[in-house]
Assembly symmetry: C2
DNA sequence: CTTCCTGCAAAAGTTTTGCATTAAC
DNA sequence: GTTAATGCAAAACTTTTGCAGGAAG
């Protein structure tokens, strides 16, 4: 997690300039949306919450922001991708997502378990001859709302 | 992991019949391909290795096999999905995939770490009000071949 | 004033579906 | 004989790209 002396917007601008790109109004809006959401957002969601953003520009800008290391694209079981701020801006975390409605939220493991996991995965990666290995740990389940909707506790339907 | 008294094909047939579906020649072939591969296969790969399988039937059959609980669709960072035999047929495992070429292989954690992880994730899921939670732990890196190809150890390039 | 960004429309990619025919039970 | 599976083609879906006009540095 980056020091907070710089705002997220300043940091985004610096990283974009580093790859010869500009921090335009639309890119600022995207960062603002992702920053406020606090959990990964799909492009359909972004387009729905902000009418007036053309989808091709949103796809292109998110791809550029990913190249600059400001955002990250993640995959779930859904048919479309989701974007979130890069982990070095928000801290290492994992995802809990609902298999029914797609709701996604961030969760964090205790540092002790995370270290053990890292050590075990590093060993596995080394044995397989893999380099630059990172991990992705997600929880997939049914959120409370969807559980209520589809599996009521009494039988009155 | 299911007892081995039944072959994978018998088990597949039983599960398909349970959902009112038939175990046809093409479905048997798909199971055979996935079983021999030993790691998740994409549909393009399946179509390439077995000419004569129409893609719409492959998509449909894999979806039916997933409904019957025989195979599982997984997502990687690639643009298409991959299929593998269901975990209760092959045992719980994780995936190591190459971000460059897409090569995917199975890896297993030690039982001790897996138990700790399960316990921690169960707690997290309960606190978030999620039910029926399973986890997905993947390693993403650069395989040895791709590392050689793109980051040679000497500078003769 | 040069380079990059924007926005529209069209294309590319994977995945799904309609429908007539064929195969399984 | 009834129901489900097949295979072709066409559609739906997310995502990418070409290009002319506009904005940023």
């Amino acid at each position: 997690m980056i020091g907070s002396a710089r705002s997220i917007h300043d940091e985004a601008a610096v990283r974009l300039h580093g790859t010869g790109q500009r921090y335009t109004e639309q890119r600022r809006r995207l960062i603002e949306i992702l920053s406020r959401a606090g959990s990964p957002m799909s492009i359909p969601e972004i387009l729905r919450c902000r009418r007036g953003l053309p989808q091709s520009s949103v796809y292109r800008n998110l791809a550029d922001l990913e190249t600059a290391g400001v955002v990250r694209r993640i995959v779930t079981d859904e048919e479309f991708g989701r974007y979130e701020l890069n982990e070095d801006l928000t801290g290492h975390h994992h995802h809990l997502f609902c298999a029914v409605c797609g709701r996604t939220s961030d969760v964090r493991l205790g540092p002790h378990l995370e270290e053990q996991l890292d050590a075990a995965l590093d060993t596995i990666a080394r044995e397989a001859g893999f380099a630059d290995v990172r991990h992705r740990l997600d929880l997939i389940g049914t959120c409370a709302d969807c559980a209520r909707r589809f599996e009521p506790t009494d039988a009155t339907g």
